[in-house]
């Protein structure tokens, strides 16, 4: 059964695939369905094609959504792989525990968080999701069930963390949560006028703030180039008690839904330029400080269901790269200059400094340096050409592009960004594959 709603968040590319649900942990994998390959699929929040398997089969884990145990003394949670971060927050925040690492949406599964080794605004302190994953079960198409932890079968643990679903199916996982005293954050927002200011704000803030991130106006040029807002926060010590947080909303039931694809004029470069300018000016004073509940702080876009429809039918790209410490300042200027003069423009840009916590994942994306996340509408060839130019800058700086968000990088670029993929390949399940994997390794396989 092909299901149109099994797409990726960027809605590009589109894929035709059959879908099999995994209902229970002990279920055997449905191998050799119409002779196609398998790929686990959670909530479809990967932007590009790493969660797609065109002409193949998806293993939908959304029904593997049961908790197994929760030790509220020590913050150790064990659950099935299809449990979402929203489900976890709903359970644990009232008991004083928070996710050790969270991305910008809570509508991702635990399995997906491990497979993409996700990171968040506290990377400089906490590293990636894999750094807080204690153990999980990996099911191979052979029927073998491999218990994985940093101590037990560590090679499988390391291959599967950040292994984009290719090493087999994660059925359950155990993670370590983080103590909180309130459900709120003490957030400071600081205006900056250029990149140099961003770098000094980062250096100053990363020591004393658990969460740091910056928004940059990519339409600004010349003197105002690199202007933006820097946000830094800590969990608040005083404020509403943890139990007063509202219920977590599921993706389907969020308060406001975008009901259909937006018409093209809504997302014109002109309007977005105006929007970015207004957003910058909204903050009048240099600094502001407020107490925010965790939902609006971490997940502002979750309040708007299916916001990806705002980019219209052609969809959009999120281009996320990291440039390692060293050349990162120069590369950052180069990237900003490239996008400021581009058409289509970059509608939303987020910057953050990654810390040096080493992730266990062989194919993990984060590395010490500066990361950029850029939202780019799909305008066909011009969008692709822009991202090719960015790839060249990132390659030169020995950086990498994030597979979880990629829909288009070349095999050569992937090889340059993740030279370890050839070692990783040994752990790929012979029955598993993805659109992404075929795209970035296809060339190499032919020449082997």
């Amino acid at each position: 059964m092909g299901r149109l709603h099994h797409q990726s968040w960027g809605r590009y590319p589109r894929a035709e695939q059959s879908v099999r649900f995994v209902d229970w942990i002990p279920d055997p994998l449905p191998v050799n369905i119409n002779d196609t390959s398998l790929l686990p699929y959670g909530l479809g929040r990967s932007y590009g094609d790493s969660c797609l398997n065109d002409r193949g089969t998806l293993l939908d884990v959304s029904r593997l959504d049961r908790f197994i145990s929760f030790d509220a003394e020590n913050g150790i949670l064990r659950c099935e792989a299809g449990v979402s971060l929203a489900d976890i927050l709903e359970l644990t925040v009232p008991k004083g525990w928070f996710l050790p690492v969270t991305p910008g949406t809570k509508f991702v599964t635990v399995g997906g968080a491990i497979a993409n080794d996700i990171h968040g605004k506290n990377h400089h302190r906490a590293g990636t999701f894999g750094n807080h994953t204690l153990r999980f079960e990996l099911v191979r198409s052979s029927g073998q069930r491999i218990p994985c932890s940093p101590m037990e079968n560590p090679e499988w643990f390391n291959a599967t963390v950040g292994g984009i679903g290719l090493t087999g199916l994660i059925t359950w996982a155990e993670i370590r949560l983080k103590r909180i005293r309130t459900a709120s954050l003490d957030v400071e927002t600081i205006r900056f006028d250029n990149l140099a200011e961003f770098f000094s704000l980062s250096a100053e803030s990363d020591r004393n703030f658990e969460y740091t991130v910056a928004w940059v106006d990519c339409f600004s040029r010349g003197d105002s180039s690199g202007r933006g807002l820097f946000m830094r926060a800590n969990h608040a010590d005083v404020g509403p008690a943890v139990s007063s947080s509202g219920p977590a909303h599921s993706g389907r039931a969020s308060r406001l839904n975008i009901p259909f694809d937006a018409p093209d004029f809504l997302l014109s470069d002109f309007l977005m330029k105006v929007f970015n300018g207004l957003y910058f000016r909204r903050q009048r004073e240099k600094r502001s400080r407020k107490i925010l509940s965790f939902d609006p702080f971490f997940y502002p876009l979750d309040a708007l269901g299916r916001w990806n429809r705002l980019y219209g039918k052609p969809g959009f790209f999120q281009y996320q790269c990291v440039v390692p410490n060293g050349d990162h300042r120069q590369a950052a200027y180069h990237i900003l200059k490239t996008v400021a003069h581009s058409s289509p423009g970059v509608y939303l840009a987020v910057l953050k400094i990654f810390g040096d916590t080493q992730s266990p994942g062989m194919l993990s994306f984060p590395r010490p340096g500066l990361t950029f996340a850029l939202d780019i509408p799909n305008r066909g060839q011009t969008s692709f050409a822009l991202m090719e130019r960015l790839d060249a800058i990132v390659r030169e700086a020995h950086g990498a592009v994030y597979p979880a968000k990629d829909a288009r990088m070349s095999g050569e670029s992937f090889d340059a960004f993740f030279p370890g993929w050839r070692d990783f390949e040994r752990y790929v399940d012979p029955e598993f594959s993805s659109s992404f994997w075929r795209r970035v390794t296809g060339n190499h396989l032919v020449t082997k």
């Binding site: 059964m1 209902d23 229970w24 942990i25 049961r66 145990s69």
Partner: protein, 245 residues
């Protein structure tokens, strides 16, 4: 705090409904055929706040065990005030047409097993003077259609049985709830092509939870099915028989 017996506890709708009761700290007695699945659900419910969740492995088609199930539930939970009957099969209509034995089996599973379970429970609740009996019927039981009239017959009979039971027990303080879901996206309907009318089991569960707490008689889930079925029931039989439904 409720003391709830859930029959067919591994079904998607039952599981989602049980989660809502678990959050209230209720006590649950879960009946299903598969021990491993029951335990997975019981652990989930306990993490979510259930004061107690007991597993009991039984095939509800084995009517001789119904009394044992009820007795065990009452002993484990120290009483009983709510029953949710959620087990069932979506019949293979074609197979039922070819072979009476299959049709009979479907009627046993989807109708007679409900009568066998509810009859003693109704008497217990009548005697104690309180209790809620909630049974999942279906909009398919509202009018016979060629595509699934054996299933529809069973569900229609369930609805009628509950109607009579409600009429008998409403003066005795016992609440009888008939739940009529439309299309639900569950493992039971996995082979069906999905259309816009399909909803998620958690949406149905919310409706059941509300209907139990508000002591409703009959609920269509989602509510718009009440209107759809009212229209379908209005079509004169002379025209209806020509439709390919």
């Amino acid at each position: 705090m409720r003391k709830i017996l859930v029959c067919g506890a591994t079904s998607a709708i039952a599981r989602e409904t049980a989660r809502l009761f678990a959050r209230d700290g209720d006590r649950l007695f879960l009946v299903g055929r598969n021990a491993e699945k029951l335990h997975a659900i019981a652990r989930d419910l306990e993490v979510r706040g259930a004061r107690q969740s007991v597993c009991f492995v039984a095939d509800l088609n084995d009517f001789d065990r119904h009394e044992t199930i009820i007795r065990n539930a009452m002993e484990s939970l120290d009483g009983l005030d709510t029953v949710l009957v959620a087990h069932g099969t979506l019949s293979d209509q074609e197979a039922c047409e070819k072979e009476y034995r299959i049709a009979e089996q479907e009627l046993r599973t989807n109708f007679l097993s409900v009568v066998s379970l509810i009859t003693p429970i109704a008497n217990i609740f009548e005697k104690q003077g309180y209790g809620t009996i909630a049974v999942i019927s279906s909009v398919a039981g509202e009018r016979g259609r060629q595509s699934n009239y054996v299933y529809g017959t069973a569900k229609g009979a369930v609805s009628l049985f509950l109607q009579g039971l409600r009429n008998r027990l409403h003066t005795k303080g016992v609440h009888v709830l008939t739940v009529k879901p439309g299309f639900v996206d569950t493992p039971m309907t996995e082979h069906l092509p999905k259309n816009i009318l399909f909803v998620q089991p958690e949406d149905i569960a919310k409706g059941i939870y509300m209907a139990i707490t508000k002591k409703k008689d009959t609920v269509y889930l989602p509510g718009y099915w009440r209107l759809i079925m009212a229209l379908i029931k209005k079509i004169p039989e002379a025209n209806f028989k020509r439709l390919r439904l």
